[in-house]
């Protein structure tokens, strides 16, 4: 059904500093679906996530992206966030001097303003924060820490999923969320993503390895190679990649 479509990418070409990375990507994602995008290093996986989130350094040269019927390419990164897109960064950025509380308060209230709502009351905000931090097993004292400064790899990724839980996006894009995680952290992160998933939402899980996909089970698997999707199949493709390697797909 056409109105089930959340995201529709057609003929997407994108470059950074005049180097073309995405060379014609087509991808349709419906409500309730989890898509895995797998591929070797340098295939364009992170570029795809950056273009979806609207990173200014990337230029879309051709094609279109529609999100819930809106032209995503005309929207700023913050407008995309308000519309319900969330990118979990492969390398979450450190912001010295800005505490997680202040960062999230600004973000949550910007979302509310974008939707014509009043700012959240201080007490309600703190309650929401405590609840979502517990959800990803972040210690309460992290609320006062500067965003990602001095965090371990696992703490940074849990902080990403915490932010995702706070903002409750319709489309979550997880860019190499498994990189640098031990099994325990991986399980916490994956459980978080699974718990946030509903039939009204969708997720794109970008990864090099099959490991994360044992915890977050995809409905559709795509292989991205040299800026194009070269194969699309069900979750059985993950095992095939593991067996044959990307060279033989």
């Amino acid at each position: 059904m056409a109105n089930d479509i959340l995201l529709k990418i057609e003929g997407l070409r994108a470059s950074v500093e005049d180097k073309e990375i995405l060379k014609g990507v087509d991808l349709t994602i419906r409500k309730g679906e989890i898509h895995a995008v797998m591929g070797p290093n340098g295939a364009g996986k992170s570029t795809l996530s950056a273009v979806l989130a609207g990173k200014p350094q990337f230029t879309v040269t051709e094609g279109s992206i529609e999100f819930m019927g809106r032209n995503l390419l005309e929207m700023s990164p913050e407008e995309r966030a308000w519309a319900g897109i969330f990118l979990s960064f492969q390398y979450p950025v450190e912001i010295p001097g800005v505490t997680i509380t202040n960062f999230m308060k600004t973000a949550v209230n910007a979302h509310r303003e974008g939707r014509g709502l009043e700012p959240l009351k201080a007490g309600d905000f703190l309650k929401l924060m405590r609840e979502k931090m517990a959800f990803v097993q972040m210690k309460p004292e992290f609320a006062k820490r500067e965003v990602n400064v001095g965090f371990s790899g696992g703490e940074k990724k849990r902080n990403e999923i915490f932010q995702m839980a706070m903002l409750d996006p319709t489309l979550a894009i997880l860019d190499e969320t498994d990189s640098g995680l031990d099994v325990d952290a991986l399980r916490i992160v994956a459980n978080g993503v699974n718990a946030l998933h509903t039939p009204e939402k969708a997720a794109i899980v970008i990864t090099h390895y099959q490991r994360l996909l044992e915890y977050i089970v995809p409905d559709v698997v795509h292989v991205l190679k040299d800026g194009r999707i070269v194969k699309t199949a069900g979750k059985e493709l993950v095992a095939e990649i593991e067996e044959k390697g990307y060279d033989n797909i």
Binding site: A53, P56, A81, L87, V98, F103, T106, Q163, L167
Partner: protein
């Protein structure tokens, strides 16, 4: 008690003498629209004297901000710390000069000086000249100066969470200035000055 000086247009010349065992603490604030020439001559005159001289400046127009600090360590066991942080936009011009002199007798001195700047426009100019002159041999001294721009990776990260570009820049600049403002003891005054910074920062961003 830290003395807070809201610098006004024009000259500010001040000689500060700190007797042994005492401390001179000062925070200088320069808001937009103010061109000034600040000269501080700080003398640590007795053993165990201390000085904490901090400052924050923000300019977004045609301002000329000159700040010159001479810090004299004359006797042993004196400590000094200087931290100046500033934001320069528009066609403003900032000159920072800071000199720490440690006399031969001033053993066990600890003296630190930092000056960090954010440039908001190609038309703004910052010159920073930190200097050390040390005649004693058992001292801890350092100085550092940087001139940078707002980090775009941070901005994209914040925007991807729905924070507007304007709010992202305000957060970056307020957090940059915060280590200076933290030294204002009176909470109401600190918050009032932080709110003034917030207002000025937004005006400068909107005029860009």
């Amino acid at each position: 008690m830290t003395e807070i000086i809201l610098v006004s247009e024009g000259q500010l010349n001040r000689r500060i003498d700190v007797p042994g065992g005492e401390s001179a603490d000062m925070v200088l604030i320069v808001f937009p629209g103010i061109s000034c020439d600040v000269r501080l001559d700080v003398n640590l005159n007795g053993e165990g004297a201390e000085a904490n001289i901090l400052g924050a400046y923000i300019c977004g127009g045609e301002e000329k901000v000159n700040i010159a600090i001479d810090m004299h360590h004359k006797l042993p066991h004196c400590n000094s710390r200087q931290l100046f942080k500033g934001i320069a936009g528009g066609r403003s011009k900032v000159d920072f000069y800071g000199k720490i002199t440690v006399a031969q007798d001033a053993q066990k001195t600890e003296a630190y000086q930092e000056n960090h700047n954010i440039l908001l426009s190609d038309g703004a100019k910052v010159d920073t000249k930190p200097q050390l002159e040390i005649y004693a041999d058992d001292v801890k001294c350092s100085h550092g100066a940087t001139i940078g721009r707002l980090n775009e990776e941070e901005q994209f990260y914040m925007r991807s969470r729905g924070i507007t570009l304007e709010d992202a820049k305000v957060l970056q600049m307020i957090s940059f200035i915060a280590p200076v403002l933290e030294n204002i003891d009176d909470e109401a005054q600190r918050e009032a000055i932080a709110a003034e910074f917030d207002r000025h920062i937004r005006n400068i961003i909107r005029s860009m």
